[in-house]
Amino acid sequence: MSFLTFIAPACAEVFLLCAACAILVIDLFVDDAQRGISYTLTLLALAGCFVLTWLGLSEEQYAFNDMFVADPMAALIKLSIYLAVAVTLVYARPYVQARGMFRGEFFVLILFATLGMMVMVSANHLLTLYLGLELLALALYGLVALQRDSTAATEAAMKYFVLGALASGMLLYGMSMLYGATGSLGLTDMADAIANDSADKVVLAFALVFIISGIGFKLGAVPFHMWVPDVYQGAPTAVALFISSVPKLAAFAFIMRILVTGLGADWLVAQWQWMLIVMAVLSLAIGSITAIAQTNLKRMLAYSTISHMGFLLLGILSGSDEGFASAMFYVMVYALMNLGAFGMILLLARPGFEADTLDDFRGLNQRSPWYAGMMLLIMFSMAGIPPLVGFYAKLSVLWAVVDAGYLWLAVVAVLFSLVSAFYYLRVVRLMYFEPPLDPSPITAPAATRWVLSLNGLLMLVFGVLPGPLMTLCDYSIELSLQ
């Protein structure tokens, strides 16, 4: 086997690594007026990855001695990651330009974070998994702190770093126990060892607790959610947009790899199901109820993220292929909605004005009926009202939960989504029923306007015809988890 075929499944990752290094160097030679070059190159790098992943789409392929796997699930998640990162860059551009963050570091950190996510998504080995996770996390810490002079951002970065390090520690501790119990770090070998009953069950159960806590931290699920609102609020909005949307896609794949591929034995599933149930119900409750009290939109969206993560966990904990597919659909829809919501904040932001409180959305319908309409679609989609796509995401998760025999859990989830409808409605209320505080017209570059409009309309398009995307998720899960 030649070297090239050996690394072929990871060609997109290799390409992105080279591209990121190249952009880092090229950026040294362009001055501020020409910074658009780095921006364009970054988008081109993502487009290149998209093509490579698209072409490499196939059955399961392993590379690096089974440490790396390329399967349809990984491909689909990666494709959505590229798109989400590209959209993030488009939304973020005017915002970071106005705040002196439109520099090479911004692009390179985002690309390295993307690379970290890609490695995570394709990991078939605990070391690869951890490597990807840390690459992502370190890049994110840097991004949050990018606005050096802002105390809020620095505080958020510190908080994020300390808690993130704690979570990584927990994960590592859990992983070391897994290694001790099974004698392997490869996820497939680990699963075999567990299936052969050669692993110590007590150690495995302990390892599971630590792993789940680590996942809870990274996902921002209750009771490990404390960092989420502070980081969202403190980080520059463009970075909050990135942190809140894209890594959740990778986190889903992370959970799938470690819990389903690695720890998918029946008795272990029964163990983690209950842990996830507790986390899911608490996330739904705290996320929905606390969001009501927020006046800062970024903070409100942070709590809304927490409750969305509760829904995501519901899909995973049902433990069936349908459940995993529904969770995958949910996380993709969530990323789409969240990009739109943060995109709206960035659209309204101006130099010296953040537009991140709820009051800044007052009377938007009088300032711009079109964008008020887009935000309306996004908010009702988040609330799960048909015919918007958020409804089908909730529906498929609820169905998986009912199918798994947890009817009561579906009722609980439904009741909390009623609570959460209240604060999404409040945004719509402010936009439509109240007069504007600040009647200035909206100025944003054409690219932002077009992408944001497309983002809003996709709520409706996928809402009327959700079938193809759902089928895609079903297939990719089916093909990836035989």
């Binding site: 009202i385 089908y392 529906l395 209240f422 409605l425 759902m470």
Partner: protein, 494 residues
């Protein structure tokens, strides 16, 4: 059945697309927005008319079927079809949409969004009446909340925000439990959302009762039945005229229709078991809410309470499980649609002129507005159930059906003839008769051509249905007897 094109899709999508076009035209060109909206509403009515002419009155089952795959993962289909019950409600909805667009001609603020909301809402409600797939039904059923929320909140009265949020959350709570029940049925029916598959299920009584309760939560809130009616007076009072008209005339019928299309056929045993409970709530609505209406000082509130009381007849008729009762219920829905819609339009006429809804502010309107007073009189009489108006037909059939069930039910139900007449006619007397109560009333002008047209058309329909209801009955007979045969066939005990 000789229609070769997908007529039901046209009935649903023509108003919705017209609404989107109106939105695109925007508020900067109000004249164009108005004309396109009117065109869309009339087109929506015209495409629905062939349903009436081509409907086969002797055939059972559903007609004008359309079926196309929609969401593979859920095996959900874009499955449409109508029977006599849906046919009448679709026509009601299409007529009301036209009337509302004409009545909203004078709205000043954001006219395009106003008219577009009604067109989209009209299309969505047609979707509810056509859907034969439970998921499709739910999507249309829920989607109606969005335009109505906007209508109440943007163009409503002083307390509109409270009313809009209350309306939304109240109805959402009911529908979410309904959704869980649908998911459960989907699993029981081996992965199908088709209503026809749901009809064939043999469920144990315990499960049926839980499903019935979940359905009930959605539909009872929508109807609304006592004691979950409290959102309605708020919503009606604060909504703009058009909003009140659509809410009373069509939206409440989604609840009544839901009982007939889902509750009765899917969970017949539970429906029979719990019929007494529903009938009791209906009678409370008829009697107690009738009394509440009597003491209202606000015109819109009075009509809102009268709506609840009249909708009590609908649920009463539905749960008597006799052909007369169910047909009476459907006719009552149609009649109430026109009568309550017209009454809200009348209040709108007065409100546009005096900007007050308090009965005490009026008096002697007849001196200045004789044409209006005459039409208002007709609708007031219809609301009181005078023979010869549409209001009589449904109530009479339901009372006849009640007599066969129980004397005491009848005694209570018949009080509506007294209470209904009391609150309506007393209100009419205070508003219309006497000497002009204030200088503003002495300076009133009678209704103009547009208002006369809207009220005149409604008056003609109310009289036509009241004098010769047989064509409506002819549409209903087979559908209702099919429904009841299905309900009874699934009862092993009888």
């Amino acid at each position: 059945m000789s229609i070769s094109y997908p007529i039901l899709s046209f009935v649903i999508w023509v108003p919705i697309i017209a609404g989107l076009v109106v939105l695109a035209v925007g508020d900067r060109r109000p004249a164009a927005a108005r004309n396109i909206a009117l065109l869309g509403a009339v087109a929506g009515l015209l495409v629905a008319l062939p349903l009436w002419t081509h409907f086969d009155r002797d055939a059972g089952g559903f007609q004008f079927i359309e079926n196309a795959p929609w969401i593979d993962s859920f095996n959900a289909n874009y499955h449409l079809g109508i029977d006599g019950i849906s046919l009448l409600l679709i026509l009601l909805n299409c007529v009301i949409t036209v009337l509302v667009v004409v009545a909203g001609w004078g709205v000043r603020e954001r006219i395009a969004q106003y008219l577009a909301s009604f067109l989209i809402l009209g299309g969505l409600m047609n979707g509810v009446f056509c859907a034969l797939d439970a998921l499709l039904f739910y999507v249309f059923f829920e989607a109606t909340l969005i335009p109505m929320y906007i209508i109440i909140g943007v163009w409503g009265g002083p307390n509109r925000i409270y009313a809009a949020v209350k309306f939304f959350l109240y109805t959402l709570l009911g529908s979410l439990l309904f959704l869980v029940a649908l998911i459960y049925l989907f699993n029981v029916a081996d992965g199908s959302f088709s209503l026809l598959d749901f009809y064939g299920l043999q469920l144990p009584l315990g499960a049926q009762i839980l499903i019935f309760v979940a359905f009930f939560a959605a539909f009872a809130v929508k109807v609304p039945m006592w004691p979950v009616h409290t959102w309605l007076p708020d919503a009606h009072v604060e909504a703009p005229t058009g909003g009140s008209v659509v809410l009373a005339a069509v939206m409440l019928k989604l609840g009544g229709y839901g009982f007939l299309r889902l509750s009765l056929p899917i969970v017949p045993d539970a429906s029979q078991q719990l019929a007494g409970f529903v009938i009791a709530l209906s009678l409370v609505a008829v009697v107690y809410i009738g009394l509440v209406a009597l003491v209202q000082t606000d015109l819109k509130k009075l009509i809102a309470y009268s709506s609840i009381s009249h909708m009590g007849f609908v649920t009463l008729g539905t749960f008597l499980f006799s052909a007369q009762g169910v047909e009476g219920a459907v006719l009552q829905m149609v009649s109430h649609g026109f009568v309550s819609g017209a009454l809200f339009l009348c209040v709108g006429v007065l409100y546009d002129r005096l900007h007050s809804r308090r009965i005490a502010d009026y008096g002697g309107v007849v001196n200045r507005m004789p044409v209006f007073a005459a039409l208002f009189m007709l609708f007031a009489m219809a609301n009181a159930g005078l023979p010869g108006t549409s209001g009589f037909v449904g109530e009479w059939l339901v009372i006849l059906a009640t007599v066969k069930t129980s004397f005491w039910y009848t005694a209570l139900a018949a009080t509506t003839l007294i209470f209904g007449a009391s609150y309506t006619l007393w209100m009419y007397k205070r508003v219309v008769f006497g000497a002009p109560a204030s200088p503003q009333i002495a300076a009133l002008n009678d209704i103009g051509g547009r208002e006369t047209l809207v009220l005149g058309v409604t008056a003609a329909l109310v009289l036509a249905i009241g004098i010769y209801p047989a064509p409506l009955g002819a549409v209903l007979h087979v559908s209702v007897s099919d429904l009841l045969a299905h309900v009874h066939s699934k009862l092993p005990m009888q």
